[in-house]
Amino acid sequence: MADVEQVLRETVRKLLQEQKVCRVIGYARGSSALRSTPVFIEDEKDADSLVFDITCGNNLTQYLKKCGKAGDGRVGIVAKGCDGRAVVQYIAEGQVKREGILIIGIPCEGVLDHRKACDKTQGREVSEYRIEGEKVVLKGKDFEVSLDKFDVLSDSCRRCRYPSPPVHDVFITEPKEAASQEPECKEFDEFEKLDASERWAFFENEFSKCIRCYACRNACPMCYCEECFVDQSNPQWFGKSTDLSDTMIFHIVRVLHTAGRCVDCGACERACPLGINLGLLNKKVEKEIQERFGYTSGLDPDETPAMAAFDEEDKQEFIL
């Protein structure tokens, strides 16, 4: 990734110098080897702190609304495929203006799922890592493990179809082609084959772990509501008890709110401190919306999002 990083820094420096953007949202090295942190760069001197690698898992689009003020000038954003799709979705939903954003596309190879890496190192701290072809080598005090990259990638990256943003203004090196069809996802297909009671038991088990910290919501670019339904108190729709039914309802409603908008970036799942599987529900709804309404989120800034539109001919086989 070294030259990608170099080109990225060079590009950002130039954009700031020429005042094409007032600020760039990107990634910098985080507090440990396998962590990156979002960074906001306004001074060209700071461009050298930018990084881009397998640890850049946050979806930066969620900062777009918070970090640009009117009259400020354009905001640049370093965008992997999914960040780029989220930007497109923001434009389609009228949250930001196309001309206010400069999308710096970057080729993505997938990002790390820390939980998977942590399992492989038995929780030992990694102080260094390097990529060797399809292998990731993790190094720490008294140990070094070489792992298949695929084994430590996020689930959403394993099934990613759009590694490069569908819309961009500049691109760091070359965009990667989108896959011609949905990559297969064994985990999902197998899950769908289970019978109803097994599926219910699976979700009950997953969500019973949930401590309702709402990190999943906060990490999600699409959860940009000023006041989330879980925080509303008048009327209070959402029960605050520790009862499992309340937790399940939170998750069902969250997925419904992101229906036809979720870009399957997996940021929610990576943010969850309990490693709860949120991707299955996201994926199911995304698939349903593709099949039923022929809509895929985050591809076309001019298309009305599926759940804000309708077609008189929509199928209604389930209605009596």
């Binding site: 699976f202 199911k284 209605i319 009596l320």
Partner: protein, 158 residues
Amino acid sequence: MIEAKVENTIGRHKDWQPKILAFLCNWCSYAGADLAGVSRIQYPPNIRVVRIPCSGRVNPIFILKCLQNGFDGVLVSGCHPGDCHYISGNYVARRKFAVLKTLLEFMGLEPGRVQFSWVSAGEGEKFAQVVTKVTEDVKKLGPARKLVRNLEPTETKY
């Protein structure tokens, strides 16, 4: 197993009758229910009706809350496509319901618990048929067990 026992005593209790919440839109289905009434058409007494302005007014969380708080089934009924008083409320509702239904069934909720229908103001007969079908379906499924709030009232200690 204790769980199986509870299922047996409550689930097959001979007096058990399902409780079903019906959201009926003001302009069509509610009038359809009215017509069924004034025409003296018989249908099961298991539904409790909430009148809503439009099927598009039904937020999925209403449906989830019904299941959570003791209803065994939920029916949402609105105007036929093209007849919406607000032009497009039922079209938008149709998309919402399709996604909700798919999602709940994917998670493993029984398909018959949550149902949707179009009933016009002139369809008293159809209204009775819909209610009969939904009641039969929910009866077959037995009492709701999923998504139900389980909190036992805590005993006050003095």
